[in-house]
């Protein structure tokens, strides 16, 4: 029935939109080129819906109520968050949610062992809006936002996230009528606000990127222990990438790029997967 026509992974470092003047022409050129590649693939795939996997950045969720997995199921979602508007240089936008998919996935999950949380009021913070502003600047592609807890430990396990990804794939293939692109928004390592902020763990980033290039989801799961996630920092998004590996069934990417900007605390890793081109 339905199909996953494209996988994308992109960073959401707010510096990309808020401080472009601080980027060297070389870094700016590389980012423009890589995001341009992803944007072209997305346009070619022409999906009915973009499922966005990322972690809320303590905008919607806090220690008073911290879900592991939460689907936005309202008819529309708006972003960026009010607190981000003055810095982010992304205009506030309201995006249509593909509620057929969002509610269908919610119910499929509940019936098949993924106890999703859901929200009628999910705000799209920069983790959603930075890549959206660069990949779909007209903000006219229906989305399904899915929060995967990365910032309020304990986090879900890597194996659980991979399984979540597999179930998303099963849902789309067996129960959804349409063509879905899936975006993983996030970087491997990033200690934003933590004591390691200001340095990038390139060694760790590249170890994970090598596993992504080889389509080794199980190796990624083994590597993504709680200890590794702590080393990767408070804002690491390794689990987001692992969820996407589950969706794509360990497909090898057709494109990857790794870009480090001066004064950044997290590197930009971008990738595309094209399931129809084997």
């Amino acid at each position: 029935m339905g199909k996953i026509s494209l996988g994308l992974a992109a960073p959401h470092n707010p510096n990309i939109t808020s401080r472009p003047d601080k980027m060297s022409p070389e870094v700016q050129g590389k980012l423009d080129s890589a995001f341009g590649h992803l944007k072209t693939r997305l346009s070619e795939a022409s999906p009915d819906c973009l499922l966005i996997l990322t972690s809320d950045h303590v905008t919607n969720f806090f220690y008073n109520n911290a879900p592991m997995f939460c689907l936005g199921i309202s008819d529309t979602c708006t972003g960026p968050a009010p607190k981000e508007l003055s810095e982010l240089r992304i205009a506030r936008a309201t995006l249509k949610v593909d509620t057929t998919m969002a509610k269908g996935l919610l119910n499929y999950g509940i019936e098949s062992g993924i106890d999703f949380s859901y929200s009628q009021e999910m705000i799209l913070d920069h983790a959603f809006m930075v890549p959206l502003s660069l990949l779909t600047p007209r903000m006219d592609l229906p989305i399904v936002p899915l929060h995967i807890n990365g910032m309020l430990p304990p986090r879900p396990t890597a194996a659980r996230c991979y399984r979540l990804g597999q179930q998303i794939g099963d849902y789309v293939r067996n129960h959804y009528k349409g063509n879905v692109a899936v975006l993983a928004s996030g970087s491997f390592s990033g200690d934003i606000g933590g004591p390691k902020m200001g340095s990038i763990d390139t060694a760790l980033d590249l170890e994970f990127l090598d596993l992504v290039k080889d389509g080794k989801g199980q190796e990624m799961i083994k590597k993504a222990t709680a200890e590794t996630l702590d080393r990767a920092g408070v804002a690491n998004e390794i689990l987001i990438w692992i969820t996407l590996q589950g969706v794509l069934g360990d497909l090898r990417p057709s494109f990857t790029d790794y870009i480090c900007g001066k004064d950044w605390s997290t590197a930009a890793t971008l990738a595309t997967w094209q399931p129809n081109i084997r």
Partner: protein, 77 residues
């Protein structure tokens, strides 16, 4: 997950722009609304994010607090 009330305050300051403005105008008035220990109050008044981090506050919330109201992130630790 210690320092819940500090994190709760930082979360509120981060997401509620009116509260953020009130805090800038009169921090003592806002601080009264939270159940804070003396050491926590002192660190908040001094914008001592390093001390709050060592006490166990959430680093991402602290970074936002510092970026909005206090020292630059490089001086946090």
């Amino acid at each position: 997950m210690s320092l819940y009330q500090v994190d709760k305050l930082l979360f509120a300051l981060f997401n509620d722009l009116e509260l953020q403005e009130s805090y800038k105008q009169n921090p003592a008035e806002v601080l009264k609304r939270y159940h804070l220990q003396d050491s926590e109050l002192e660190a908040l008044r001094d914008l001592n994010a390093g001390a709050l981090y060592r006490m166990g506050a959430h680093s991402f919330l602290l970074w936002q607090f510092a970026a909005n109201d206090g020292p630059q992130t490089g001086r946090l630790f």
